[in-house]
Symmetry: C2
Subunit: 201 residues, 2 copies
DNA sequence: ATAATTACTGTAATTATATACAGTATATTG
DNA sequence: CAATATACTGTATATAATTACAGTAATTAT
C-alpha cells in the first residue's frame, strides 16, 4: 500500500470524519465544498488516486459509494494452537478475529491467546479462556507472560529474570517452577497478559 | 420510542445489514429490490414511519440519507455495588457502560456485574472480575446465576430449585451451600452468567 | 529531457435517487 | 363507525451525484 500525499490524506480524513459524523460518506460535491474546490471533479480525481493506492474502494454508479479499506487494524486476532516453528501471529495460528472496541478491555491488547491446560488455574486462568496479550506492555517480575521455550508457547508468571537464569512459575500447586538458562535453551518472552475473556461459563 | 411493526423491523435490519456490509445505507430502490417491492415509494413510506417512531433520521435531499439513531442499547451497563432496595439496573448502580461489540462475547449479555468476594474462585471467578449476565438465557441446575436473597445480590451455582427449596453453592471449599426456602425468604434469580471479563491480570 | 503524478478549473451529460401525487386494500384504534 | 395506521402499486419529476472530456500548471520520477 503506497503512501498517500498530504492532500490525499486530508481527503481520506475528511471522508472518515464525514462517516463518523453523519453515518454516510460524502459526495464529490461535499468534498469539494469542504476543501474549497470549485469543481467536483477535483474530488473525483483525488478519490481515484486514493483508490489506486488501495485505501478506498469506489462503487461505480452508486451515490456516496466510497468504501474504506483500512479496517484490518480494527480486528484483533485470536490465536488458537501455535504451530511449532513460525511466529505466534502467523496466519495459520489465527483462529478468528474480533473487532477492537475502544473501551472494552485495554487498547493495548495486540492479540488474544487461547489457554491450553490447567497450569494457571490458581489465579483464575482456565483452559479455553482467552488471554489478552500486549507485546509492548512493560513486564516486570510478577507479571503473567507469554513465553516461548524451545518453540513451545506457554503462559506463566515471571518470577526471576537475569542473564543466565529465568524462572517461570505455573500458578497451580501440581506443577513446579520452570528454571531456564536462556544461554542454553531458546527462550523468548512474547508479551505480557493484561486482560482475560471467558466466552462461556 | 414506539414499537416497530414486523415489516418495519425487517426494513430497519436490512438498513443495518447494508451499512455493515457496504458501509453505506441503502437507497429506496435498494430496499424495494431486496424486499420485492415494485415501487420505491413503498420503501419511502416505510422509512417515514420508522423515522416517526424515532429509530432513524432521514436527511432530506441527500442520497442514502438514512441515519441510525443509535439507541443506548449499544451500551452495556457495568454494575458495581448494588444498593439495597432498588433494582440491579437502577441508575445509581451503574459504574460505567461499555459499547456492545458484535462478535466479542455473546450478544445476550444484558449487563456486567463486578464480582465482590472470593466465593467463586474455584471456577476461576475472582474479585473485581466482570461477569456477563443474561436475563433471558435459560438457566438450569448447574448454571452460575445472579441471585438476590433478602435484597443482597450474590453470584453462585444453582444446584437445586424446587417450590420450597433452592440450593446455591459457592465454588470455594471455604464456604457452605446456601439453602433457602423461597416461601419464607425473599429470593429472585436475576439472570445467569454467560461470560467473563478481567480487565487486569 | 520526457513522462508521469499531483493538483486543480470548468462544462456538461447521464444516471441515480428522493420524493410528490394518486390510488387500492386491510387492519387497528379511539 | 370514522379516523388512522399499515402495506403496498404505479407514475412522474426535480434534483443529487457520478463521471466523462478538455484544459492549465507545478512537481516528481525515470
Amino acid at each position: 500500500m503506497k503512501n498517500l500525499t498530504k492532500r490525499q490524506e486530508e481527503i481520506l480524513n475528511l471522508i472518515k470524519a464525514h462517516i463518523l459524523d453523519l453515518g454516510i460518506p460524502p459526495t464529490r460535491a461535499d468534498i469539494a465544498r469542504s476543501l474549497g474546490f470549485k469543481s467536483p471533479n477535483a474530488a473525483e480525481q483525488h478519490l481515484r488516486a486514493i483508490e489506486k493506492k488501495g485505501f478506498i474502494k469506489i462503487l461505480s454508479g452508486a451515490s456516496r459509494g466510497i468504501v474504506l479499506n483500512d479496517n484490518e487494524n480494527d480486528q484483533i486476532p485470536v490465536i488458537g494452537l501455535v504451530a511449532a516453528g513460525g511466529p505466534i501471529l502467523a496466519e495459520e495460528n489465527i483462529e478468528k478475529t474480533i473487532p477492537r472496541s475502544n473501551n472494552l478491555l485495554s487498547a493495548d491488547v495486540d492479540y488474544y491467546l487461547r489457554v491450553k491446560g490447567d497450569s494457571m488455574v490458581d489465579i483464575g486462568i482456565f483452559e479455553e479462556d482467552l488471554i489478552g496479550v500486549s507485546k509492548s506492555a512493560n513486564m516486570k517480575v510478577g507479571s503473567v507472560v507469554v513465553a516461548r521455550i524451545n518453540n513451545e508457547v506457554t503462559v506463566k508468571t515471571l518470577i526471576e529474570m537475569s542473564q543466565n537464569k529465568v524462572v517461570l512459575r505455573p500458578e497451580n500447586q501440581k506443577y513446579d517452577d520452570i528454571i531456564i538458562n536462556p544461554q542454553v535453551e531458546e527462550l523468548a518472552i512474547e508479551g505480557s497478559c493484561i486482560a482475560l475473556l471467558r466466552e462461556s461459563i
